[in-house]
């Protein structure tokens, strides 16, 4: 038996197919992951993401501490509730994890990091906090529900405490607000609009039930993966890890080089790679033949070299296979992928593949 979120019984009650995910018993789907995927693109779906790790960084030294720890710059977060997406790097510039950090107050930032990297991340943060005026508090008492889709916010708003709906609906993208004991953020991992709601674990089942009653469809990890892939969003452990830098992972945009005086862990190594040019890069692939791209398949770039598919799946919105691959930087716009003994043709594209429900490739 793996770890279970406060919503485990609800998932079982809704006929979820439960699978192990990084030591957690999580719903893969509730009948059809493809239907759940379409529900998010066209209407509203919800995900139990309570397995993710919420860490509160508090104290007068919080901004300075995070400014030296993260590749993106929390100094850009000047309004209460504003958030950014960033990598946390090793000294060599490799990615330890990707995460979102919210600025609540000068002395309070909230990080949401991956479930699978929880222990590693907490150990890393704990090591680097020495000498800083900061406390690190993990929040295992909190659960998290993501409501996503063009109708998700409207449907979820009807379930929020009176008066809270207006504040939540007024949120701009990548901003969060507190509504009683809920922390509502206009963020997500699907490429659709929506909220990620952090809430007390003992309120999660009630909210999940009221969201379902409001017509938001429960969706599992299977749909979560096809949605994020269509949206061109990386998955830690597949698309990047400690052996790859953000520049090799299509995450150069998350590095704040300015101000130049801000030193952060991994900066020196990244500067060198930026100057010399990274030899590999992460690109999107659209398979042109019948088949499905999957992680670890070999990519052949004629006259240039080889690479590897890092994430692959079938895109329900496009009706064909898409993927991300780490390839030589000199790749053109075509390549071959070795799938089940055959070399299939793939077109190199720039993600996202789908945005706000529409094909972009």
């Amino acid at each position: 038996m793996g770890s279970r979120t406060p919503l485990y019984d609800a998932h079982v009650g809704m006929s979820a197919r439960i699978v192990d995910f990084g030591g957690w018993d999580m719903p893969l789907h509730y009948g059809s992951q493809i239907e759940e995927h379409h529900a998010v693109r066209q209407d509203a779906g919800m995900f139990d993401v309570s397995h993710m790790t919420v860490v509160d960084i508090q104290g007068g030294g919080a901004a300075v501490f995070l400014g030296g720890l993260l590749a993106n710059d929390v100094g850009r977060l000047k309004e209460a509730g504003k958030a950014l997406y960033t990598c946390m790097l090793t000294e060599d510039g490799g990615v330890i994890d990707d995460l979102i950090v919210y600025y609540l107050r000068d002395d309070w930032y909230r990080m949401v990091v991956n479930a699978a990297t929880r222990e590693k991340d907490l150990a890393w943060i704990g090591r680097h906090v020495q000498g800083h005026d900061v406390t690190v508090q993990e929040r295992p008492d909190l659960a998290m529900i993501a409501v996503q889709g063009p109708n998700a916010r409207d449907k979820a708003a009807s379930c929020l405490p009176a008066g809270g709906a207006d504040a939540a609906s007024a949120l701009s993208p990548f901003y969060a607000t507190k509504i009683e004991d809920l922390f509502v953020a206009r963020t997500g991992y699907t490429g659709e609009d929506g909220w990620e709601i952090i809430l007390p674990g003992d309120r999660a089942a009630d909210y999940w039930a009221s969201f379902a009653a409001a017509g938001i469809r429960p969706c599992g990890l299977g749909a979560r993966d096809t949605l994020r892939l269509e949206a061109g969003m990386n998955l830690y452990g597949s698309d990047m890890d400690e052996t790859t830098t953000p520049l090799e992972s299509a995450l150069g945009w998350t590095i704040a080089w300015e101000p130049a005086e801000r030193d952060f862990v991994g900066r020196d190594a990244l500067e060198i790679q930026r100057k010399d040019g990274a030899p590999r890069k992460l690109v999107g692939l659209l398979l042109e033949d019948r088949g499905v791209l999957r992680g670890h398949q070999k990519v052949v770039v004629e006259g240039v070299g080889e690479g590897e598919v890092t994430s692959g799946s079938f895109s329900p919105t496009l009706g064909r296979s898409i993927g991300l691959a780490r390839v030589p930087a000199a790749i053109g716009d075509q390549c071959l992928v070795e799938i089940r003994g055959r070399q299939l043709s793939a077109r190199v594209v720039r993600p996202p593949f789908v945005r706000h429900g529409k094909a972009r490739v």
């Binding site: 059809s32 299977g222 799946s313 079938f314």
Partner: protein
């Protein structure tokens, strides 16, 4: 608990066979198999006229999760493949024993069906 119709024969690799009134056999994959695979996105059906021995890999069903070979339960010749599956592979998930059939065979030897598992025996091998 997956569905296991009583009038069919089954293999260890989760194919089912139905002997039709005209002596041909219809073949598909079981409810247990389709649930394990998840939503199918491609089905590569065998070509009509192909001669198969029992155990030959004759089709591929590919889901979002993985690709899986389908093995012919008995020897025979493929006389028909389900063309609907090209556009609607989800039929295998929705109706594994009806609209989701994969192929029809002209049997080399109808008594070969006796070597396959009956419903009760197959059900006993499943742990769902």
């Amino acid at each position: 608990m997956s569905e296991v119709p009583g009038d069919l024969k089954y293999t260890k690799s989760h194919e089912w066979v139905r002997l039709e009134e005209d002596g041909t056999a219809t073949v598909g994959i079981s409810d247990h198999a389709q649930a394990a695979l998840g939503d199918l996105v491609f089905v590569d059906a065998p070509e009509v006229g192909t001669a198969l021995s029992a155990g030959d890999a004759c089709a591929v069903v590919e889901s979002v999760k993985a690709a899986s070979d389908v093995y012919s339960p008995v020897a025979g010749e493929v006389i028909e493949a389900n063309e609907q599956l090209a556009d609607s592979p989800e039929l295998v998930n929705q109706e594994p024993y009806a609209g989701g059939w994969l192929m029809k065979l002209k049997l080399t030897d109808v008594s070969a069906l006796d070597t396959l598992m009956d419903a009760a025996t197959y059900e006993g091998t499943l742990d769902d």
